[in-house]
Amino acid sequence: MRSLLSASVLSLAALAVGSLSLAPAQAQTVQISGAGATFPAPLLQRWFDTYNRTVDSNVQVSYQSVGSGAGLEQVINGTVDFGVSEAPFSGARLESFRSKFGYEPLQLPMGGGAIEFAYNIPGIESQELILKRETYCGIVTGEITNWNDIRIKAQNPTLVDRLPDLPITWVHRSDGSGTTFVFTNHLKTVCPNWTAGAGTSVEWPVGIGGQGNEGVAAAILQEEGAIGYVNQSYAKLENMDTARIENKSGNVVAFSPEAATSALDAPIPDDFALLVPDPEGPQDYPIVGLFWVMFYREYPDATKLEKLREVFKWTQGPDGQALTRELDYIPMPDSAIERIFAELDAITVNPNAVR
């Protein structure tokens, strides 16, 4: 009993000494927490980790990639400092946010991504296959079921002899995902016969569902004749064969960071909820989407707000954007960044802010 007591006294003393010596540093340590979308999670985690190591070691940002929907719920419940979503606030959640906080949510786009068709057709290399709108609309709705279909051959004159008699297996995400939202938002706009609408998960007319990017990738890589959609960064990581596709102007384009960036360089509306289901430019890559970071317009803690601003401004600066490119995401165009900074500066401190 006595030894236990003395041990605890000792450890208490050690704690006190420790906290005394660390006091100046600890007073400034700011913990910021966020939650939301899984698709930008690798980029966000890299950003926050790099910021902590190279810029300001007193700022620790933790990010839980629990999914866009769950992230928005946490923002509404006030359990996080920011949320991340691949679809803007809408519907019942927007109503809840408005009625609880009394203002519109501040949603700022911080980057984007592109989606590619990845396929596994024996004898056909990456970028060889061309998919016109009519074709990929036919594949996702189940109207085109074989790779030797006359419509696919007509658009691929160089592959006429090589397109095999092989059934098409459509592979989609089974989990709710912002990737699916961006992809179906595009389908809804360009495919006249697409009836399932747009959402983070939809009722697919055909195909099998893979769990996460890795599930989709595995299903495609293991199955001859399979085709599906994956994030561009993931297609590159897994070295998958990807298709060139037709854009609004009728040009056939391959994915490139430039083609995706120019696709996202559209006039951004006041609430920043920019959706580009079908970009206009002649060289634009057609399937692109943004992810938004959701902020409050009032924060109770001045230090925290200041650090939050610094971190997110850094992510849009040269160092942050270099990481964005390195991880194959699309940085925001300069025109948007100015407005994002202005909105960040307009956030106010209010000790009585609702949470």
Binding site: S68, S174, Q211, Q222
Partner: protein
């Protein structure tokens, strides 16, 4: 130490009643403690059920019992039904049991009868217990990268020769299917059947077996006509426990079923289960969708409850039979 010694001294010079009192107080205290712990377990169960039901309430009001027979799952238009998932959940559990029951009982017999020396059975039973320790996500990955490529030709051959039989029909299988999920679930639940059946056999009185052998029964006759019937209630409860585990397993179902929200009677085709549906859609779900997923969770709880009640009834019936005999 010191207080106990003092207790002992005082009991010596006063009376025996004092000692009775303290031991009785300990007794009562212990009973109350266990009562509180048992009550706590019950409260947690009720709490989970109430919370899930409360979260599911909006969907229950909106979709009613039609939820159970609707085959659509459309988050865009907010139309939800879980018939394909109920079918998938029941079929995968059934397939799992079809694999696990013979495997489990056979292994248990092998381990308890003296077919081979102890140094062979000991490592085997250790390995079986280790199967339980494999995380289900690892089994899921193993399924995707090892099992699917391995079983695809076998599935295709079965599909081609038995195409007329609805359970094996449909287009050429890809691998992701209810049958595959059932197979992996069978591997996962067989240790439950093995270990419970084994201890049931071990706890049977020795003279049952000796009697059968003395009457001239062969070893096989002893096992089939004496040991298995005598241990039937234990075997059945192990099967029911295994089925409960199979009904609730999530990761394997989400990763291997193909997650198609359609009813394919054929086991060779992709399907989905209630657990797989909840796990894959919860993170990005909208509000009505969350309620619908909670409703699906309630449906699963009711399914599991029905299985447990059924198990209890069957076990009781066999116990009565045994007592009558």
């Amino acid at each position: 130490m010191t207080s106990a010694a003092r207790e002992y001294d005082s009991s010596q010079d006063i009376s025996i009643e004092k000692k009775m009192d303290t031991s009785r107080a300990l007794d009562v205290g212990f009973v109350r403690l266990t009562l509180a712990l048992a009550g706590f377990a019950g409260i947690i169960l009720i709490w989970v059920i109430l919370q899930t039901t409360e979260a599911a309430l909006p969907a229950m009001q909106q979709f009613g019992l039609g939820f159970l027979v609707t085959t659509r799952w459309n988050p865009v238009e907010d139309i939800y039904g879980v018939l394909p998932q109920i079918y998938g959940t029941l079929m995968t559990s059934l397939v799992a049991l079809v694999f696990a029951i013979p495997l489990g009982i056979g292994t248990a017999i092998f381990l308890t009868e003296d077919f081979v020396p102890k140094w062979i059975t000991a490592p085997i039973s250790f390995a079986i217990e280790l199967i339980v320790a494999i995380p289900s996500v690892v089994l899921g990955l193993w399924g995707i990268f090892v099992l699917i490529p391995a079983v695809r030709p076998i599935f295709r051959a079965i599909n081609q020769t038995l195409n007329w039989f609805p359970l094996f029909g449909g287009p050429a299988p890809r691998g992701n299917s209810l049958l595959l999920v059932g197979l992996v679930l069978g591997i996962m639940v067989s240790p439950i059947i093995i270990s419970i059946t084994r201890s049931t056999f071990e706890s049977l009185p020795r003279n049952l077996r000796d009697g059968a052998l003395a009457l001239g029964a062969t070893r096989w006759e002893t096992i089939l006509t004496v040991m298995i019937p005598a241990g039937l209630s234990g075997i059945i409860s192990s099967i029911m426990l295994a089925m409960g585990r199979a009904l609730g397993e999530t990761m394997v179902a989400a990763m291997l079923s193909g997650n198609a929200n359609r009813i394919n009677v054929s086991l060779m085709q992709p399907g989905s289960t209630i657990t797989g549906l909840i796990a894959s859609q919860f993170g990005e779900a909208g509000r009505t969708q969350v309620a619908a997923l909670m409703y699906a969770g309630v449906v699963l709880m009711v399914l599991s409850l029905l299985v447990n009640v059924l198990a209890e009834l069957i076990i009781r019936k066999f116990q009565n039979l045994q007592q009558a005999n």
